[in-house]
Symmetry: C6
Subunit: 82 residues, 6 copies
């Protein structure tokens, strides 16, 4: 895992920020279970399980919070922190 | 998923911000399980399950936190960040 | 759900802010399961289940965080953000 | 529940703030299950169950975050927000 | 529980802050289950259970967030809040 | 555990910050279950279990939030807090 996969938290739009949040959510799983075959075998299980899907959305929400803050919520004029 | 579905976090009112929080919560599920048929089949299960409904409300709460911060809590005069 | 149910996050006291946090927690459930009869049937189950009650309190805690921040923690003199 | 039980988030010390975080965590349970007898019957179950105890500590942690922020972390000289 | 166990959130280093986060996580359990014997009997169960260990780490993460903010992330020059 | 393992929250890049978030997530588990053999025996279980992997990613997300804030989101020009 010496590849550079996260050089910045800055994205051009909220939507690409959301994509980054999903990437951040998946990367911890990859690092804990580096075997791609095992991860692939787990996929049908969680992708067809409501509780797992909800849990994944939960993590994305937290990472999206981080990415949104890093980007000043993409609109500095109306953002809360100005 | 190349459509633009999230161009801004800014909404005109807290209530439309809450609607956006729900949208954000659902989108991660869509991206993890892109098959609409499977998602539709899961719906009766979680919509009739208290624990799942509570878990969904949990995610909405986190996303609403993000949207609220992005909007300066919709009332800059009394918001905490001024 | 075209009714206005959330026009502001501002409340006069922490306690009414807590009430709003409970309302926010319930609304996501209503929107996911719009059928009031089904929700009512679920109530005895979760209201008598420790894990569900704990999970509900968890969501209220997150929403209360949002409402508290929106209100400057109701006491600007000693609040952290001044 | 017309009693005033939360007039302020300000406490004199971190420890009394922690006590308030516990109170906040319990109050949502009370409001969802107002029947004290039912709550009392649930107590031995969760108080002897590791997962439930952990879940309760989780909520206290979130509420303590709110109370700590409201109090400027009780030490404005070194707090992050000054 | 009239002892003073939390007089400040300020610690000298991130690591002692992390220790404090662990203490904060445990204290809510102690207050909910004051009987040390019962807590001790629960220990082998959760200490040998991956899901419980993960859940404990989760709480520590939240409390560490609070302690870190209280300490200005221990490095005011580069901290985000300056 | 008298070793120094956490002297700073500052990292040079978001990616090394993410690595630190993973380290923070694991350390609480180590402190709760200090026996490395037991932890090693638990590994195949959680590393092959979707719900556990998701739960681990959840903790990393929270710790990454803390590390990101500590580092000013690694880009002060566009960060929300400037």
């Amino acid at each position: 895992m010496s590849d550079i996969w996260l050089s910045t938290l800055i994205t051009s739009t909220p939507q690409t920020g959301y994509d980054l949040a999903i990437k951040l959510s998946r990367m911890a799983v990859k690092m804990t279970q580096p075997d791609a075959d095992i991860r692939e075998k787990l996929r049908p299980g969680y992708a067809g399980n409501a509780a797992d899907l909800i849990a994944i959305s939960h993590i994305v929400a937290i990472n999206f919070q981080t990415v949104s803050a890093a980007n000043g919520y993409w609109d500095v004029d109306t953002a809360s922190m100005t």
